[in-house]
């Protein structure tokens, strides 16, 4: 086991499963790059039920609303409590989360998952709005196919996905000069137009005005949901703002083509390269990455016209990413994942038992402050160590580590887990404190509380 192998499995991966550091050690960079030579894997539900596509989910939502309406109006004096309609949103959401967690705990392509999680956070959709039903499909359909492709393709997939169109209200946005505005009296909604410029592409200092926000929103009018297609997307010409539209000094043609051309320009704008490079460096290299690391990623993004495989490769090949001391506090989902990988999940559980176990693990990361697909705003989860080192959140991690320790069989060997999972990253101080534990369970709880598992 080499130090570089351990760093590869932790800084670029999700924490090492038994044997993983050995595999990584032969050629750590090649081990990482081989994981991202194709789109990310698709998660599979633990209960065997299919994970539905966006179009199917739109239909399901319609059925759900009808059922709910009927159950309410069906209440009479004689029958005050009609049969409760099963909440399909929650059911689908929990099924998606379980599948996503199980894949993270077991994947042999952890860098691919890290990229999925990074881009999912960059293009945040959150279950806080009406989008809960679609957030899992969003990651499967808009993010996973593109982690080794281009930023432009991913951006289009994001802008056309029902989850984003619903989360940032664009499906309701109507061009003020359109036919639909005349009929309905409804109009423009700036939400997606603004966040597309501010968060997804240029960045807040990327050079745009309030007039550009309105122009972008107009370019996106008519981009909405359509249940009869698998991707759930439809363009509604009657809602689209008529005429050519000027964004950042450039005039775009009327209709569908205008929005497409504008998004394409944004994907390749130098400000987008700068914005994305900085976030990428912060994620993989450190909270305050060296200027050279950021500019190298920025150059790579520009030179390759936003090739995301090349971007990841540049980060992997950056010497600044390979220093032995940990760079970042793991966010809760990564922390729970690392603990489950170190302890070789699924711990003997299968079927419904495994499903229940996954739900508890989702709740655990929620308690620590991070519920998947539930970031507090379109900006996504914070990506700096301080945000995840709060007193209460740390205490919750330690409480949970104790729970995990308590549930491990007495025959488990915590020191062996530590040596396999951390290799040369295991500190002698941690080993000596673990040696004072009164049980294997307590030793494991101490391992999972240690700085080398909290950080990466």
């Amino acid at each position: 086991m080499s130090l570089e192998g351990a760093i590869a499995a932790h800084r670029f991966g999700l924490g090492a499963r038994p044997g993983e550091i050995d595999s990584a050690s032969k050629s750590p960079k090649a081990w990482l790059l081989a994981q991202i030579d194709r789109p990310a894997d698709q998660p599979k539900s633990v209960d065997g039920q299919p994970l539905l596509n966006a179009g199917q989910l739109l239909k399901l939502e319609t059925e759900f609303r009808v059922d709910k309406f009927m159950s309410k109006t069906g209440a009479t004096k004689d029958n005050p409590k009609p049969v409760k309609v099963q909440n399909v949103r929650k059911e689908q959401y929990m099924r998606e989360l379980g599948a996503r967690y199980a894949l993270g705990f077991t994947t042999e392509r952890p860098l691919a998952e890290r990229l999925v999680w990074f881009w999912s956070n960059h293009f945040t959709v959150s279950s806080h709005a009406q989008a809960a039903l679609y957030v899992g499909a969003f990651e499967r359909e808009a993010i996973r196919p593109h982690i080794n492709g281009t930023f432009e393709d991913m951006l289009f997939a994001v802008c056309m996905h029902p989850a984003m169109l619903i989360y940032l209200s664009n499906y309701r946005s109507i061009g003020p000069g359109s036919m639909a505005a005349d009929k309905t009296g409804k109009g423009l909604n700036e939400n997606l137009g603004r966040e597309l410029l501010e968060l997804h592409t240029l960045g807040v200092d990327g050079g745009y005005t309030q007039a550009d926000v309105i122009a972008m929103a107009k370019l996106l009018t008519g981009w909405s949901t359509y249940a009869d297609r698998p991707n759930g997307f439809g363009f509604y010409a009657n809602k689209h703002e008529p005429g050519s539209i000027t964004l950042r000094g450039k005039t775009y043609p009327a209709g569908w083509d205008g929005g497409v051309a504008a998004i394409r320009d944004l994907a390749h704008d130098p400000a987008t390269a700068r914005h994305v490079a900085r976030k990428f460096a912060q994620h993989f290299i450190g909270d305050d990455p060296p200027v050279a690391s950021v500019s190298n990623l920025e150059k790579t993004f520009k030179d390759t016209r936003g090739n995301l495989h090349a971007l990841a490769e540049a980060a992997v090949n950056d010497p600044a990413a390979w220093t032995p001391e940990p760079k970042k506090m793991r966010p809760p989902i990564e922390y729970v994942t690392a603990a489950m990988r170190l302890t070789a999940w699924p711990h003997g559980a299968a079927g419904m038992q495994q499903d229940a176990q996954l739900r508890r693990l989702v709740r655990a990361s929620q308690q620590m402050g991070q519920m998947p697909f539930a970031a507090p705003s379109p900006k996504g989860w914070p990506d700096d160590s301080d945000s995840w080192t709060g007193a209460d959140a740390l205490f919750d991690r330690i409480e949970w580590a104790k729970e995990v320790g308590n549930s491990m069989p007495a025959t488990a060997n915590a020191i062996a887990i530590a040596e396999q999972g951390l290799g040369p990253l295991l500190r002698s101080a941690t080993k000596s404190v673990m040696a004072t534990a009164s049980s294997q369970g307590e030793a494991l709880a101490l391992l999972l509380s240690s700085p080398e598992v909290m950080r990466r």
């Binding site: 806080h128 309701r172 109507i174 402050g369 007193a391 959140a393 941690t430």
Partner: protein, 403 residues
């Protein structure tokens, strides 16, 4: 699973509390102040025209359209002074206003106005004139001139302190929890693990202190299901918990809370709509905090502010888009209240910012500075330099606190 409540009972019966090895650090020697300050960040841009409707303005009904609140009837707005009113959801705040415990400022905004949630929250919390030029929070920098730099004088009711309370002075964070807790011997071992890691050590010590304080003599530890999303859900346990922490004579003097759910791009609603319901949740939480504070309410000032306001007219989806000016709120037993203060210019599009947003006529920093000066005794010199850098030209508002 053990709840905190049942665990607490067992531990108290066994006398186990005494073995918490970290001393409770709130035992200030000669506490510098008995005044309490609460700052609530309303994340997401609360529509000030919905919370504090200027129903007497001649342009109100026409400009607000479907968002105009009913003036009368069972869900009618609460009139304050014949011109301004309160949203029907703010029933408890109305009662506080009638008791002269509420001051409202209208047409107020932070000094940086670009309609970005994230930039404007950064300015609101950092106290800089522009985003990202100051790296920590104004409330943390104010703790030293308040005399609260030693011990842990300030708590964030959150999983980690937000930017507002981040900075050089040690603070801590607290949330109602649901999991059982590890024993003290185990915590001592974890402390050994963190011997070389100052950030993790400090976080752990802070958590242990506060858990001990909340438990001491407590028969209702708010053992309910809360999580990071809490600021978007039930606010009552968070606000009641803050009140309880502040009520303790040896407890913290400053608390920070967050409440979200204000980014009403879609179906904002009027008298009984989505925003009215969310305001009602905030109203109930404020009442729960007042109750938990008990006699300490008379020494308390609560400041609530949001990063910017929203468009005056509804957007195309029955909501409002990002705007500029809005309202800010000062509540508490120590407040010289019973007024709405505003440099009001009407709602005519000619006077609106860019013809669309409520204008900003008062700098939020003037309000924060006034509260810090009058209530917490922070000097003008500190306010204009360390607390709000380069803000010498922003005069603190006066007459906020009862003499």
């Amino acid at each position: 699973m053990n709840t905190r409540r049942s665990l607490l009972k067992t531990m108290t019966a066994a006398g186990a509390l005494a073995v918490w090895d970290a001393p409770i650090r709130y035992a200030f020697a000669g506490v510098p102040t008995d005044r309490r300050l609460v700052v609530v960040v309303l994340r997401g841009a609360l529509d000030g025209l919905a919370a504090v409707p200027p129903h007497g303005d001649k342009g109100y009904a026409a400009m607000r359209g479907q968002l105009a609140l009913d003036k009368t009837g069972p869900a009618g707005l609460h009139d304050l002074d014949g011109f301004f009113g309160l949203n029907p959801g703010l029933t408890n705040v109305k009662a506080m206003y009638d008791a002269r415990e509420v001051l409202i400022f209208h047409n107020i905004c932070s000094p940086y106005q670009n309609r970005s949630h994230f930039d404007c929250q950064n300015v609101l919390e950092s106290g800089g004139a522009k985003p990202h030029i100051v790296n920590d929070g104004w409330l943390n920098r104010a703790l030293t001139p308040m005399g609260l730099a030693t011990g842990t004088g300030a708590v964030a009711v959150d999983q980690a302190p937000p930017l507002l309370l981040s900075g050089p002075v040690r603070t801590t964070s607290w949330m109602p929890a649901v999991m059982p807790e590890p024993d003290t011997a185990f915590i001592a071992k974890v402390k050994q693990l963190y011997a070389g890691d100052p950030a993790l050590s400090a976080a752990l010590t802070g958590a242990v202190d506060l858990q001990a304080q909340v438990k001491a003599g407590d028969d209702d530890p708010y053992a309910m299901n809360a999580n990071h999303k809490a600021a978007y859900g039930n606010l009552v346990p968070l606000f009641a918990g803050a009140g309880k922490l502040l009520a303790d004579p040896n407890g913290p003097r400053v608390a920070v809370l967050e409440a979200g759910g204000w980014d009403t791009h879609v179906q904002e609603g009027a008298s009984t709509g989505n925003l009215a319901r969310r305001l009602q949740a905030l109203d109930q939480a404020l009442d729960a905090m007042k109750t938990a504070l008990g006699p300490a309410w008379s020494k308390t000032v609560v400041v609530m502010a949001t990063e910017f306001g929203r468009t005056v007219k509804p957007n195309g989806s029955g909501g409002t888009d990002h705007g500029t000016g809005t309202a800010a709120y000062v509540l508490g037993g120590a407040v010289a209240g019973g007024h709405v203060r505003a440099e009001w210019v009407g709602l005519n599009p000619a006077v609106l910012k860019d013809g669309r947003d409520q204008p900003a006529r008062t700098d939020l920093r003037a309000l924060f500075k006034g509260v810090l000066a009058e209530h917490m005794g922070v000097s003008q010199a500190a306010l204009g330099t360390t607390v709000f850098p380069d803000s010498g030209n922003v005069t603190p508002l006066k007459g906020l606190v009862r003499a």
